[in-house]
Assembly symmetry: none
Homo-oligomer: 467 residues x 2
């Protein structure tokens, strides 16, 4: 077992330099969904390859039909050490609306938050560059302390996580042998609160879908045609309004097939976390849970499926007024899935429902935007117990096991294609505003995150050695 | 009674010169909504003053806080002759998207259309410079024939019709005595088809309203918050979808107060026009009337009130996908009114309905965008009968009385402020593409329009003399 207190001391001493490296990465606007930023995505990948190279990894950039992968290996721990695959993504979300940012999204800085702690600002600071750099910097601390990494480590960073990961499955398939490990470490998750680390054991799945309704072959004057011509905004509103019933349940045929009730002991564990609607929604200026009636806020967001409209546009949306009946209207809709819900069946059910609402002289088109089933990880794995203990040593409060409302499709892919479970450990906070203007990552998350990985790698190795 | 056949002969002989004068006016880019064209608006007004001056009118340019009015008087017909106020507007719509014009918008020309008839091209050719010049050139033909105008004529041309007419009401109020006449002639309307002239006897009113729903104080991640946080796009869709029932009726409380059934004889007259849903909607690629069930297409667009969503936006609407729950969503909604529907009551009813649908932790704001009641002109006025007869003499087919789905607020202002009904007679065609690229005005509309006014002025005078 390595003496990881020396490594932790290195992490503490090197924090400022660690931060400067993170800033370098944050300055690269690697927005994967927008083709205009293709070169920037590659630049971020290349930056990571060089970084890992400098840490003694055998690192390389791997081209895909989309943005490149970064793969790196460290085998210095030897054959007997545990082998982990660390996964993260270097791409980021778009930054609109830009005018709402109080600091430029790609000029990171440290801003003192309302709670008097420092926050790292910028797009990707929390999702996911800040998080993945906690692991990279943990590796650096081992090197700086003159220690070997205690585990064999493979690193996989992708550049398409924010745009549906189209290249991921083919890449995993083609490189299954190279990427297989004892378990994956996935860092794209949150703590329970700023003092309490968490391991996520459930992840909702996701189906993304775009719907475009076309009515007339041109925009019409609503005086001449109003009352006679089909209005695609009416049709679309009707479709979207009909997705939920008065109790907040989704109305699609077969939508709840495969949804199971959460076990009583799990619900009890969640109750113990003391979350309330007031606290959870109060942070974003809301108060009333809008979802399924009769479910706690944690159940609503961790264990129940949803339908959400993520965007909608049609007709005249500029200043002033224009009496137009639009030719087209469109919306982006996503479904969060739990249990054994089948993403393909849900997509088809949505399409059949929408088609049934479209008049015969209008048309509807659909475009899929990703699909992944929900994931449930075992509560009783020894790896999980070890990581939980290591985390509990680092933070003021012991680690807890939680669910996650978001989707991390790669976890399912690791299960299905590499036969490998994941440990979902990240240091994000619920107020990090990921995907929103003014995204930030707490300095504490970054610093203690680095220290946490140092401890976890050491603990996993010690556990295996003791077995 | 003047021998108007000589005047008509003059109009025929002078057609080429009439056209050249119209072209001069069309070359002036008098776009009222764009401050960059302020001087051009004034130039168009000045051009009209000089034109009317040369015809023996006592014409003047009158400054307003916005673009100037043109007022002109001809009293040579004497006190016993009928007195008409002719209204038109010299301002035009913007021309964007410029690249869709096949001829430059301010370089008028004659282009032979698909139907082998000549069309006058250019912005304002139909709306409204071509139309108003039919009247001016009718006056010129009288003068050229050495005849007095048979009616006392007051002319009012405004320069802000395409930008909401902010100066019109104050001007009418300040000059009520000067502008009052037996009736107004308003030329901003269409024929029934290219062979059948029409007088519009009903105009729908309009209420414009913008609604903004705010939920959370920031955009949220739909994974973390979906199923718990209010989604303004759901709330707005629900509000908009609920505006109509399954029979296409508007559901707002009191919405149909003041709506009267169209008299059976009027419905019968409309039936005689032979309009069908297939023809009307077929022109724009549609087939199925979307409005109130059990009403003909003409009733739906002329005599029934509507609610239309003119625009809607919220969330992520760019390329790709973003799993966001928007903080805000907004829509622009307009109501077309008929009969005695009260615009203010309808606005309030909409607001009360919308408020009732907004959860207590979300907020809703409204912004009004104009309001005008519907106009119904008497079917039995002797002036209307006289004009109808005169029009029927000019055109291949007899004139018909029609409704209009759009709104012309000045007609209501003339009623309310000058106590004067209007005759709505214009020679536009439904394919003139007003407000769009490649606006045109048929040569037949222009030529027979001039001849029509010659006949109408003569007929009105003869009718009064005979009474």
């Amino acid at each position: 077992m390595t003496d990881h207190s020396a490594v932790i001391a290195q992490a503490d001493q090197g924090l400022e330099a660690s931060l400067e490296r993170l800033f370098e990465l944050l300055r690269i606007p690697s927005i994967s969904t927008d083709p205009a930023y293709k070169a920037e995505c590659r630049k971020a990948a290349q930056w990571l390859v060089e970084e890992l190279d400098s840490l003694g990894f055998e690192a390389s950039l791997r081209d895909t039909p989309g943005h490149p992968m970064v793969v790196a290996h460290s085998t210095e721990a030897g054959e007997d050490a545990p082998h982990v695959l660390f996964y993260g993504h270097y791409d980021v979300q778009p930054v609109d609306p830009l005018e709402e940012w109080t600091t430029p999204p790609f000029e990171p800085s440290i801003v003192t938050g309302a709670d008097q702690t420092g926050n790292i600002t910028g797009r990707g600071s929390a999702d996911d560059k800040g998080q993945l750099m906690t692991f990279v910097e943990a590796c650096r601390a081992y090197r700086a302390a003159g220690e070997k990494l205690p585990c064999r480590v493979t690193i996989l960073f992708e550049g398409e996580e924010e745009s549906g990961s189209p290249s991921l499955k083919p890449f995993l398939e083609a490189h299954a042998e190279e990427l297989k490990a004892d378990c994956a470490l996935v860092c794209d998750t949150n703590m329970w609160d700023r003092e309490t680390p968490a391991i996520s054991t459930g992840l909702r799945g996701r189906v993304g879908e775009e719907i475009v309704i076309t009515a007339a072959d041109r925009d019409l004057h609503s005086g001449y045609f109003g009352g006679a011509a089909a209005n695609p905004l009416h049709i679309l509103s009707d479709i979207l309004a009909g997705l939920h019933d008065e109790n907040g349940k989704v109305t699609l045929d077969g939508f709840y097939d495969g949804v199971e009730e959460t076990p009583a002991e799990v619900l009890k564990m969640w109750e113990g976390l003391g979350q309330t609607a007031e606290k959870f929604l109060g942070e974003v200026g809301l108060a009333v849970p809008s979802g399924e009636k009769g479910r706690s806020i944690l159940e609503q967001t961790w264990a129940r499926p949803t339908a959400e409209v993520n965007g909608m546009i049609g007709g005249y949306t500029g200043a002033g007024f224009k009496t137009v009946i639009a030719a087209k209207a469109s919306a982006k809709v996503s479904f969060r899935l739990v249990g054994k819900q089948d993403p393909d069946a849900i997509r088809e059910s949505f399409r059949a429902y929408a088609r049934s609402k479209v008049p015969s002289d209008c048309s509807v088109e659909f475009q899929p935007h990703g699909a992944s089933p929900a994931i449930q990880l075992p509560y009783d794995s020894p790896l999980l117990a070890t990581a939980k203990e290591a985390l509990s040593e680092e933070w003021p409060k012991p680690a807890v096991l939680i669910g996650m409302g978001g989707s991390i499709p790669v976890v399912g892919d690791f299960q299905d294609m590499l036969g490998m479970d994941s440990l979902l450990i990240g240091f994000g906070l619920s107020d990090d505003r990921i995907h929103s203007p003014n995204e930030k990552y707490s300095m504490t998350s970054f610093h203690r995150g680095i220290r946490s990985w140092i401890r976890i790698l050491a603990a996993l190795a010690a556990k295996k050695a003791a077995a």
